[in-house]
Amino acid sequence: MGGEKKKFWLYISPWLFGFVVFIAGPMVVSMYLSFTAYDVLTPARWVGFDNYIQLLNHERFWDALGNTLFYTFVGVPLHVVLGLSISILLLRAIPGINMFRTAFYLPSIFGGVAILLLWNFMLAPGTNGQNVGLINGLLGMVGIDGPGWSSSEAWAKPAVILVKLWGVGGSILIYLPALASVPRDLLEAADIDGASPFKRFVSVTLPCISPAVFFTATMEIINTFKMFIEPMIIPGLNPAWTDTLMILLYNNAFEYFRMGYASAIAWVMFIFIMGLTLVNLYFAKRWVYYDSK
């Protein structure tokens, strides 16, 4: 086929343009803005590291960072373990399996304000047995006195994680094909060698599906760092309990019009995500197994 190189540029040109105009360009601009004071109305003023210094002295920043890290280190492992467990349960093609797969996948397609407003009602702790939502109503059925969720400092963040975990079924799209491609003969060999089901899972299945686990964990860490809508619609009684860095960024950029300060927050987030991803990649070398090796 003639003019391969020309055609390559022609076909990828939409992405190339988008990359320059919507990603690379804005990244350079936001880097510059993070060293300025800019309120949109008056020209940007160079202030050096002022924004970053202010940020580190800002109590709300440490609250938001702590919350974001809590969601990452508690929420993401739960998300991976639960998603994987459900996928293992859904792997074997027994009669009616499609119905079960659909049931678990379904919640993941609801991600907007609507479902979160409903979750607000579901999490209602109630007062003196009045206005009790679904969750504490269910807990009451089994004799547990449910917590105050968003209205208590200890349970406000777990409430947000619980809501996110309801959508865990989205990850079966990644896990199921991976589990299905585990070589049958390896499993049988382990079986013949007398390995218990658990041992087989750890030494055969897990290495084979490690790229899929790595992929979902990485994407989930990034998604958690971007978390905005959940704490926005289901805030704690004191927002400092649940606010994420993304909420802090939104408030500064679009409510106080502190564009320079907001850009500094964005870059701090970016550095954190990069750091976590690199750590993730470093450990991946030890536990993620690719066929090509």
Binding site: I23, G111, L118, A262, F270
Partner: protein, 301 residues
């Protein structure tokens, strides 16, 4: 833990006739156990939907009763009728549809064209640039949010749908990735024979590749629909005129203003209604989702 799919063959030496029924009954018990776990977990996952649908058909006084009333004492279908007069539901839903429609159209076409370029044309920079595409999946959009907003406001696009639609015309990294993986599974011989028959590369794309890629095109379409139907941050930042609000932002403004709505049944009905379109789409197209995703090939991470 692991499904043991070994066929029970009757000619295995280790099995005497006496063991066979025993094995079968053991398998039956395991299968029963599997169903028991599946059914209870499914019920647990479905309860939020059941509870909210039932709540949307109750008089407000019955929603929060303890013990939980699963079946309303009297079905209040008027919740669904009244919401149309209480909020501008129809306008919000139409606005959402407009935004979603243009995004699906643009992002599917642009991502597909780009994926074809990466999957089929040799160039020394093909590999490195594709890595850049993958890397952009890792870049959180917050880093670009502020400059993008400044750019769109400088263009005078704030309070229009343009900032929510135009970026889709230039492909989306995850879609490009999924589509490239799918195109790689199509044998090149098909391209070559079409080329010999006198098709040029764009005709090969539209006549040969596109029909075979229907599963992944539909999958990307569904993902795009769900993302933009549920999107909240974009409309929140760019839209201030209530007449332009999509459904999610409309619901948020109802809740945000706390207009003293104590008629929870109405709020439930409106929120449940917002869940219907993704649900219907999924019901009709779900068989494509699983077949569209091919993660094999040269994926790193």
């Amino acid at each position: 833990m692991i499904p043991n799919n070994k066929p029970v063959s009757s000619n295995q030496k280790a099995q005497t006739l006496k063991d066979l029924p025993l094995l079968k009954s053991k398998e039956k018990v395991l299968l029963l156990l599997r169903y028991l776990v599946l059914v209870s977990a499914t019920i647990l996952f479905m309860l939020p939907l059941v509870w909210t649908i039932s709540g949307s058909l109750k008089p407000s006084s019955e929603i929060f009763t303890v013990p939980i009333k699963w079946i309303p004492s009297a079905f209040q279908w008027e919740n669904y009728v009244n919401m149309f007069t209480a909020f501008p539901m129809v306008r919000y839903a139409l606005n959402s549809m407009i935004i979603v429609f243009f995004n699906i159209l643009l992002v599917t076409i642009s991502s597909f064209v780009v994926a074809y370029g990466f999957a089929r044309f040799h160039h020394p920079l093909n590999g490195p640039l594709f890595l850049v595409v993958l890397a952009t999946m890792m870049i959180p959009e917050q880093v670009t949010l502020v400059p993008q907003f400044l750019m769109f406001s400088w263009l005078g696009w704030v309070n229009t749908y343009l900032p929510l639609i135009v970026p889709s015309a230039f492909g989306a990294a995850f879609n490009i990735f999924l589509m490239r993986q799918f195109i790689l599974t199509i044998p090149r011989e098909l391209d070559e024979s079409a080329y010999i028959d006198g098709c040029h590369s764009f005709q090969i794309l539209t006549k040969i590749i596109a029909p075979l890629c229907l599963p992944i095109i539909v999958t990307v379409g569904i993902f795009t629909f769900n993302f933009h139907w549920n999107d909240f941050l974009g409309p929140l930042i760019y839209l201030s005129d209530p007449n332009l609000f999509p459904l999610q932002l409309g619901l948020y403004s109802l809740d945000g203003e706390r207009q003293g709505i104590t008629d929870y049944g109405l709020l439930f009905a409106a929120s449940v209604t917002a869940l219907i379109p993704p649900l219907v789409l999924f019901a009709f197209l779900q068989k494509h989702i699983m077949s569209g995703i091919k993660l094999g090939g040269s994926v790193k991470g």
